[in-house]
Amino acid sequence: MFLFDNLSILFLFLIILGVVPNLFYSFGYLPHIRRKAYYLIHYFAFIISMMGVVIAGNALVFLFFWELMSLTSWQLILTQIEDKSTIKAARFYFFMTHFGFMFLLLFFLIVTNGDLDISFAQMKVITSNFAYPTLLFFFVVLGLASKAGAVPMHVWLPYAHPAAPSPVSALMSGIMLKVAIYGFFRFMFDIFGVWQLEWGIFILIMGAISSLVGVLYALSEHDIKALLANHSIENIGIIFIGFGMGMIFSSLKLPALSAFAFIAALFHTFNHMSFKSLLFMGAGSVLHETSTKNMEKYGGLIKAMPITAFTFLLASISISALPPTNGFLSEWMIFQSLLGSANIDNISLKLAIPFSIFALALTGGLAIACFVKVFGITFLGLHRSTNAKHAHEVNILMKIGMILMSLVVVSLMLFTPFYIKLFDSTINALMNISIYDKIIPNIWSLHSISNNGGVVSPLILLAGLVVLTLILYIFYKSLNIKHRIFHTWACGYNTSPVTQYSATGFAGPIRRFFTWLYDPDIHFEKEVILGHKTKFVDARFSVHVRPLFERSLYQSSIKLTNKISYYVYRLAHFEQSRYAAMIFNMLLSVLFSYRIFVHEFSWATLVLESVVMIISVKVLLVGGKE
């Protein structure tokens, strides 16, 4: 019923690493929550259900805990029910998560032959005999990617994460999305075992698109938690790039490279858990103090909340993949596995993979821009509202939570060899190949596995940076320079909060460059004096980005459903002669399709019969003018 192999224990470890600091933070956050008992029951049930998913040994237990995880997180989103948008976000989340659940259920019904009690090993036998494995693969992708938040099933994240209380956002983004990644590892290795080349390419493309879309929407966001939620999409994309490369290498029979890519994906999974939880905690503390999620209302918080600010800075540097942090190390590994594509013989694949390198590099660059924006606008400068002015540091429990989580981030950076060893033993159990000695020949450096690959040494980078900064600092101190305090130069005017750069303004150039994606809805109101529009007295500028995928995929499918239901409605009100005509047309189409698809196929008859069908439908069903 339960399974404790390497993979399960690894993800159990991930959950515990993420949950322990979160417990402290959550209890510090508790005074902010009105319905405490409600919150606590669902909070603990949520944690237990996530643990249940990763140790589930058969389909029934897996599905039970999966559904419990969805339902408890849905209820947790509804904790602060006063807000109207919360209910909408929760409904959307409920729908999306059950959309995924349906596909998982379908998948399990097929691979277990209806007997949900059998183990993963027995499922593997049934799967290998199943005629259409690609169908199963797409069930898995739809089922798990809608939970993980990969494009195009990512639309619920920017709604659900901001609506949930901050400790829950940290759990959902940090851990729940990783449970879906666990599902990918478990299903791909233990149920499929072998996979086709196209699957890996599909995952790789999905990852590359997710990473770009996530970071681009994050840049245009000014709700701090929605911004972080969009960054989760980006990081899930990066994990999928690693995972996809692993699958591609594995189907091309390059096991060492494949193991390297999978280890990179696992490493990034851990890293994302650490820094994203920390970022959500920081955002939660800021939200706790200022009671607003709008970044334009923050500013200057570093003076009042130094611990929040510096832990947030650490996480920002890490998520921007800047050396020597852990985020950099895992992205470096993913880059190295992409660069390993030079060893592939398939020339078209070889030419295509640089586009992923491009996507990942651009993502990195935009992530830096985005986190400069978040950190700079939130914590630096002057306060932009009275709430920000009166903010002070959060309580001791929340501080402990943030400090513990930053210790997790630092440990992932300092003890990389230990973590790699852990991932390697997991991959070894799944793929029977151990490459730990090749990645880490000594504890100083991390080696790429491909021919003539690169090397990075996190400890030397860190030590180098610290030593150089210290030397510069000592040199500066020894000069004993005089300091003078004066105000910022503002062209002769006084510096004021309103003349600072805003978050919207900061992302302005990038928003303008990617207008085709954002399709922004811009309002620019100017005060009118004596019939003349002025610009300087009281002007209001607001930009709202219209999410492309939501608009094209979701709204249009709603429109399509509406249209279809309209026709169904019209059908239901036909007179009897029309019903007879419908039956006749149905019969005709069944006969024709039998002839075309089963009996014998020829293009000529297909065209002929289609023409006959269209005429018959037009004459009998649609009829003349009404």
Partner: protein, 306 residues
């Protein structure tokens, strides 16, 4: 090891010469009375003796960030390709790490810009974020392509391999990568046509806007960071795209290397005199060209085969 340390110190010492040299060339070409080539040193010594004026709106970031802007760049100098034969070098550091270290420095510079609550700072950071985000993919793709040609991902080893046997069959992709890298050299260092280092006009400035509120020692740190950044890029260009002179005797080798640096500075100066600054929203076109050339370089390399 002594040689290694000496070359790094040499690079730090001659770094301020290059911007002054470019300015000198430009002024000569514009029929102005040129500044001395040692102007950089004079500026630094002047800034060292001045007091620091800290704005009261700033936080502790202003007193930390200038150090963190400079130190990753100095660290990058340790990982650059060797400039003379027999020198110890760090062979393994790849393009991604070097790009990362440069981005780390840019990250702190951008944060510094937002710290003083001045609209200039935000303006500069916003533009810098825009430009450096688009420059990053081109940088990684270009250096990756060169590393492939040199048969090693480590930048140091790649430069040695290129020196030992230059891959003439991949000349086309080599030149494409060279063009792409030269555009990056201009974009990342804020030279015309991307940014004008001499202007203090809010319409055009990028780098200067971020550091408008710094003075004294802090300003010196940032100024030396920008001259070291130019040093990093020009020395990478010299080692990777002008792969000769490594086998000369030590003194001659260093001389050839310095000549190469000044040649690159001359090229940049000539380009600066002959072009106007681009509008901010035209810069992506330029960087797009760099990205396209980087792709072309990779694709021609793959198609021609190893």
């Amino acid at each position: 090891m002594i040689l290694y340390t000496t070359t790094i110190i040499l690079m730090i010492v001659i770094a301020p010469l290059l911007p002054s040299f470019m300015k000198m060339v430009k002024m000569t070409l514009l029929y102005k009375k040129p500044i001395s080539i040692f102007q950089g040193y004079r500026d630094f010594s002047k800034l060292l003796s001045k007091e620091i004026i800290v704005s009261k709106e700033t936080s502790s970031i202003t007193s930390m960030a200038p150090f963190l802007v400079l130190s990753p760049l100095i660290l990058t100098l340790f990982f650059l390709p060797p400039i003379v034969k027999g020198e110890y070098f760090v062979s393994f550091i790849d393009a991604f790490t070097i790009t990362g270290l440069i981005s780390l420095s840019t990250f702190f510079l951008m944060i510094l810009g937002l710290d003083s609550a001045s609209s200039f700072g935000g303006l500069g950071s916003s533009r810098e974020a825009f430009i450096s985000a688009l420059a990053e993919p081109a940088m990684i793709l270009t250096v990756f392509s060169v590393s492939l040609m040199a048969d090693n991902l480590g930048v140091g080893q790649a430069s040695i391999n290129l020196n030992n046997h230059f891959p003439f069959e991949h000349m086309a992709s080599f030149i494409f990568a060279g063009i792409s890298f030269f555009i990056l050299l201009i974009a990342e260092n804020g030279r015309i046509p991307v940014d004008n280092p001499e202007t203090h006009l809010e319409l055009t400035m990028v780098h200067e806007a971020m550091i408008l509120d710094l003075s004294g020692f802090y300003l010196m740190l940032i100024e030396s960071a920008s001259s070291i950044k130019f040093m990093i890029f020009s020395s990478m260009f010299a080692s990777l795209f002008m792969p000769f002179g490594l086998h000369l005797p030590i003194i001659l080798g260093v001389l050839v290397f310095i000549l190469k640096l000044f040649f690159i500075a001359l090229l940049v100066a000539l380009l600066e005199v002959n072009t106007a600054k681009l509008r901010l929203f035209k810069i992506p076109n330029l960087l797009g060209i760099a990205i396209v050339f980087a792709f072309l370089s990779l694709i021609t390399f793959y198609v021609l085969g190893v």
